[in-house]
């Protein structure tokens, strides 16, 4: 099963490599990884998605919690949550009809064209991983030049809060 794990990590050099190293060392998968500073300068927030059965997930969360740099951890998939992945996708866009077609699809997916070149469009799209996958599929007729995704960032709904 796919899980989204969100971590408050000490903002220390080497901390991220301990998290990533743990996955490599113990043979767990990382599907996506997203990390950035928070409003508290001493902490980073890291979100990763991984796949595993309950036993593997139990070990992954225990092993992560054991890392001294991991301050707090939550499995977002255990409750109601919001997940967002950001994608920038550059496609070949030549000629009126192709450009119109791409613009239409972008609107349907509530994306934005953020850069326009004589022969390219760069589209920004935010959503769940599934929605982004669907958009890429919808672009099947266009020539995709580049895809970049932020990886999932996530947060629990309502009063559930991950902080110190």
């Amino acid at each position: 099963m796919r899980r989204i794990i969100s971590i408050l990590l000490e903002n220390e050099p080497g901390a991220l490599s301990r998290v990533v190293g743990l996955f490599a060392q113990r043979g767990y998968n990382i599907e996506t990884l997203n990390v950035a500073p928070t409003e508290d300068a001493t902490l980073s927030r890291l979100t990763l998605t991984t796949i595993g059965d309950d036993r593997v997930m139990e070990q992954i969360t225990k092993q992560l919690n054991k890392l001294v740099d991991v301050v707090k951890l939550v499995d977002l998939t255990e409750g109601a949550h919001i997940e967002r992945d950001l994608m920038l996708i550059k496609v070949r866009a030549v000629g009126g009809s192709q450009r119109d077609e791409i613009k239409r699809s972008t609107d349907i997916f509530r994306g934005q064209i953020v850069d326009v070149g004589p022969n390219t469009y760069t589209i920004q799209l935010v959503g769940t991983g599934e929605k982004l996958d669907a958009f890429v599929a919808a672009m099947a007729d266009a020539e995709i030049l580049e895809v970049v995704r932020s990886g999932v960032a996530g947060i629990s709904r309502g009063e559930k809060i991950l902080r110190l």
Binding site: K62, Q63, V71, L164
Partner: protein
């Protein structure tokens, strides 16, 4: 406040920590530190002959005393040489603090002379690591390192220190903190009361119980409580290789070691049990044999301070996260309380039947009940350990290397006290024994320290004979000489039709007697059984000399019992070359 350089801070912090020995080896990146140690430090430094030995000696000291081992090595090759010893300590959860030098801060990342990314290299084999970036951070970092290494599940911590951090001309205020608080680190202090209550009920309802205890009982200083609990309930006890001594080896309730080379009665009792109390043991694959066939009828209570040890390989029915000491005390209290209400528990009739069954197993194939090894005109390895046990009256600190000799020592030396058996279980590091013996002997100069080894293993750190000369550590080396990498040969006999691929040395072995004499020690060669005890006595009578006993044993002997693998259960064992369960 006092002003100190980084080097001086390290020297002072080691004193303030109460460190008794530093095991190390100098080099460019740590010369400021060594100069500070030389000028003013009460803590003696032991110069080994290879950095691997520094870590093993510190480790042997730690296992013998329960205090953290301290290591100091230089950058680059000094640091990488220490890696095997750090991994050894990590696998067996041994408290250790390793100071490694690093190239100066401004050179990091430039492939500078003797630069290696020690924090990176050691990352998967440390409990935690630090790279010191400002001299002012040293006292707090060192305090944290000792705290992390020694609390919770113990383990090695590396502090990597760039050379400029320790320069003598940059002085800063020094104050060693009394305590530390690390917001993201708080090992469990007590077991969960609800879980403990459930465990008490299950224990008292057991009809075929076994206590399976491990290294955690020794780490957690809970041997007395474990013994009290077992005696109170009249439950049988088996220990892992790492747990030997946690329960008295010569006690009637002790079934011997369990696992791959465990005792028949221990493995049989585990397999047929209905309740297993696992205490500070981690269900290692050398214990369980095939996990899906592991103890099919047993409910498992698992006490461990590290949640990752619980349900990692074998699922626990009642997990209890907490330190063995407090959890065992809570269990004992809970048992007393419940028995006030229900004095008939546990079912003494069922227990009597269980003990009768266990005694039958013991009589049938027990290692200490009738000989389980072959007749030979050569000395049998088991006889050597029995002789060692007699001569040292079961009171020695015994270190070992890795191989058949290690298993014979584990099976035949009955350890009655914790911390007396010092071996590398998790990593299985050949070369561990001699340096570990140095550490133990420095910790307990008045005690006998014996290193049981093989001619293969001893050569992996034989240079430490010189360290023994320098620091006068008169350990006794018991070389079970079979002229083979015996454990490898055993597998080749059993699985590769006796093709001894590179497990012999042909005629290349040194004359060990001459070799140790060259280092200034005493060597003895023993080839006949009738001289074994007398020479052993003679060796141990030479209290201030290192004696190397080169004992020629039957090279064809195998270690039994041995789990049948793959696909075997706990109860499936080879009992001799042609006998199986």
């Amino acid at each position: 406040m006092e002003l100190l350089s980084g080097g001086e801070m390290i020297a002072r912090a080691l004193e303030d920590e109460g460190v008794e020995y530093i095991f190390g080896y100098p080099g460019g990146a740590v010369l400021h530190i060594y100069d500070a140690l030389f000028k003013n430090c009460q803590v003696p430094h032991v110069l080994v002959r290879h950095e691997q030995a520094a870590t093993h000696a510190a480790d042997g000291y730690a296992r013998a005393t329960g205090k953290p081992g301290v290591v100091l090595v230089t950058s680059g090759p000094g640091a990488t040489n220490a890696v095997t010893g750090i991994a050894t300590a990590y696998m067996d959860s041994i408290p250790m603090v390793v100071f490694s030098g690093q190239v100066a801060s401004h050179l990091i990342g430039e492939d500078a002379f003797q630069e290696t990314d020690m924090v990176g290299i050691s990352r998967p084999i440390v409990k935690h690591s630090f790279m010191v970036r400002r001299t002012e951070d040293l006292p707090a970092t060192i305090k944290k390192a000792f705290h992390i290494a020694t609390t919770g599940r113990p383990g090695p911590v590396v502090i990597d220190i760039p050379k400029d951090i320790t320069r003598p001309d940059a002085k800063f205020e020094y104050e060693y903190p009394d305590s530390v608080k690390i917001r993201s680190y708080s090992p469990a202090q007590r077991g969960h009361t609800g879980q403990i209550r459930k465990a008490v009920k299950l224990l008292l309802s057991a009809k075929r119980p076994v206590i399976y205890s491990g290294g955690g009982v020794i780490q957690g200083e809970a041997s007395e409580l474990l013994t009290a609990l077992a005696r109170k309930l009249n439950f049988p006890v088996t220990n892992t290789l790492m747990g030997l001594g946690a329960y008295p080896g010569s006690d009637r309730q002790f079934l011997g070691m369990l696992g791959m080379h465990g005792f028949y009665e221990a493995n049989m009792a585990m397999h047929h049990s209905d309740v297993i109390l696992a205490v500070g043991a981690r269900f290692d694959d050398r214990v369980t044999n095939t996990v899906s066939k592991f103890c099919p009828g047993a409910k498992i209570i698992h006490i461990d301070i590290d949640p990752t040890s619980i349900s990692k390989t074998v699922a626990a029915d009642i997990p209890i996260v907490g330190p063995v000491q407090s959890v065992l005390q809570d269990l004992i209290d809970g048992i007393d309380l419940l028995r006030e209400k229900e004095p008939s528990l546990p079912d003494s009739g069922a227990l009597a039947r269980w003990w009768k069954q266990i005694d039958e197993w013991r009589e049938k194939h027990g290692l200490w009940h009738g000989r389980r090894y072959g007749e030979s005109d050569r000395i049998m390895p088991q006889q050597v350990i029995e002789s060692l046990y007699r001569v040292t009256r079961g009171d020695a600190y015994v270190t070992s290397d890795v191989g058949q000799h290690q298993m014979f020592a584990a099976q035949y030396y009955k350890f009655d006290q914790p911390r007396r058996w010092i071996n590398s279980g998790g990593l299985g590091t050949m070369g561990f024994g001699l340096p570990a013996a140095i550490g133990a002997k420095l910790a307990f100069p008045d005690k006998h320290v014996a290193c049981v080894t093989g001619e293969g293993s001893i050569q992996m750190n034989i240079q430490e004979l010189s360290t023994c000369t320098q620091y006068n550590t008169p350990v006794k080396i018991i070389n079970l000489r079979n002229n083979y990498l015996g454990m490898v040969k055993q597998w080749q006999d059993m699985q590769y039709e006796g093709r001894y691929a590179m497990s012999t040395y042909e005629d290349s072995l040194p004359d060990f007697v001459k070799l140790v004499e060259a280092y200034g020690h005493v060597g003895m060669q023993i080839t006949r059984l009738d001289e074994l005890d007398a020479r052993m006595e003679e060796a141990f009578a030479m209290e201030d000399r290192l004696v190397f006993l080169d004992i020629f044993i039957d090279p064809m002997e195998h270690v039994y019992p041995m789990h049948i693998a793959p696909n075997g259960a706990m109860k499936d064992m080879w009992l001799s070359k042609n006998e199986r369960t």
